[in-house]
Amino acid sequence: MLEIKDLEVSYGMIKALKGISFRVDEGEVIALIGANGAGKTTALHTITGLLPAESGSIRFDGVELTKVPAHKIVAMGMAHVPEGRRVFANLSVLQNLRMGAYTRSDRDEISRNLEMVFSRFPRLKERQNQLSGTLSGGEQQMLAMGRALMSSPKIILMDEPSMGLSPILVNEIFDIIEKVKADGTTVLLVEQNAKKALSISDRGYVLETGRIVLEGKASELLNNEQIRKAYLGE
């Protein structure tokens, strides 16, 4: 479904991705793990077109994405929960969610979707008229997830969705990811919480300073000695 080949990306002089390749198949949950500054966020940004690729290719359902602008990529069925949430601070929770359904026009579908999001995140329903800028960090994270789900995407890219969430919510988020998967949506998951991430993933890739250094079945990675040392803190 999503195939990345030899992707290179730079910020000015700094090369953040030095030729990475990986693929995500339909219906899979793929974990992308790596230390701070490894280039995970950069990879996601490039896939959704927020950053230009220097070289390499990104294919989504067979379509080359590197020259496609971000908004078209989203319309093709890719959603992105960005790092740092990036909710529209001066819009209400409800307006933010509606914004998530920007590319869709079927009103009934949208309101059904909204109900679905509200049932997954009751807190958002409670706060639907609050300006999102004043939500607590965790609440904003839920909003960002909910907003991405509003486009009912084929694939959803999540950048550290558990960051700053309480343990109960972290579990919940991972539950939701599993449910999202169960609904047939493909997930590309970037996480610091490698253990949890791998435990719900099918496969995983390990990124280190702009290169993929390891890949494999999630269960294998979980048992990999190197990984256990470097990312699971054991």
């Binding site: 965790g138 960051m163 109960i168 610091q192």
Partner: protein, 252 residues
């Protein structure tokens, strides 16, 4: 002897929402104290109240025996409370060293005019500031990056720099808002060592907010759990973490 921090009946509302509701806490000198609770429970708001970002509707705050309720942020910092922020707030376009030196602003002083005219006190005190700042950077393993822009540091190092900067202001009480957010378990482990080191070496009292239970159970001696603005449970870490109510509301 009185507690380092004691807070009585602290409350604040935003519009209709009572974000902090009759909050009490008592922290002894040298303690490593954890403040946990669900998202939106009001933890950061407590920090904001303690540091004068918000003025409480009700309640009083004492630092040692000094009533600091209603003082402004600058005064509170001078009185001895320093903090870090949940969403990192560094001086992004300044060097790492300068970030720490700004923390030293009220510790090492010389008149502005001697800075402009480059009088001898300027050189002497700037040198002292540099030395002190470097010492602090060393604690956080940041001395190699001293000349980088703060914005170019990786996330984890930015968090550390924030702590270093807070320490530079010479506080008695250090407030850390989710210091381990966005760190992987290894980095979190290092951070725990650093926090312990800071407590021991600087003789610091620390109150921290954190969702990473490994960190909380690893270094906090006592905990308060906040839920809907008020304290759900408090006490020794191990006891609090086994409290069924806490498990239900927070740990899952």
């Amino acid at each position: 002897m009185c507690a380092m921090l004691s807070v009585n009946n602290l409350s604040i509302s935003f519009g209709g929402l009572r974000a902090v509701d009759d909050f009490n806490i008592e922290i002894e000198k040298g303690e490593l104290y954890g403040l946990i609770g669900p998202n939106g429970a009001g933890k950061t708001t407590v920090f904001n109240l303690l540091t004068g970002v918000y003025r409480p509707d009700e309640g009083r705050i004492f630092l040692e025996d000094r009533n600091i309720t209603g003082l402004d942020t600058v005064e509170i910092n001078k009185a001895g409370i320093a903090r870090t922020f949940q969403n990192i707030r560094l001086f992004k376009d300044l060097s790492v060293l300068d970030n720490v030196k700004i923390g030293l602003h009220n510790i090492f002083t010389y008149p502005t005019i001697s800075g402009i005219l480059r009088l001898s006190s300027y050189f002497r005190i700037e040198k002292e500031m540099d030395e002190r700042a470097l010492e602090l950077l060393k604690v956080f393993d940041l001395e190699k990056e001293k000349d980088s822009f703060a914005k170019n540091l990786p996330y984890g190092k930015q968090r550390k720099l924030e702590i270093a900067r807070a320490l530079a202001t010479g506080p008695k009480l250090l407030l850390l808002d989710e210091p381990a957010a966005g760190m992987n378990p290894n980095e979190t482990g290092e951070l725990m060592d650093t926090i312990r080191f800071v407590r021991d070496e600087f003789d610091m009292t620390i109150l921290l907010i954190e969702h990473d239970m490994k960190l909380v159970s690893g270094i906090c001696e006592k905990l308060s759990v906040l839920n809907f603005g008020s304290v759900l449970s408090r006490g020794k870490t191990s006891e609090v973490l086994n409290d069924p109510e806490v498990i239900a509301a927070y740990l899952g």
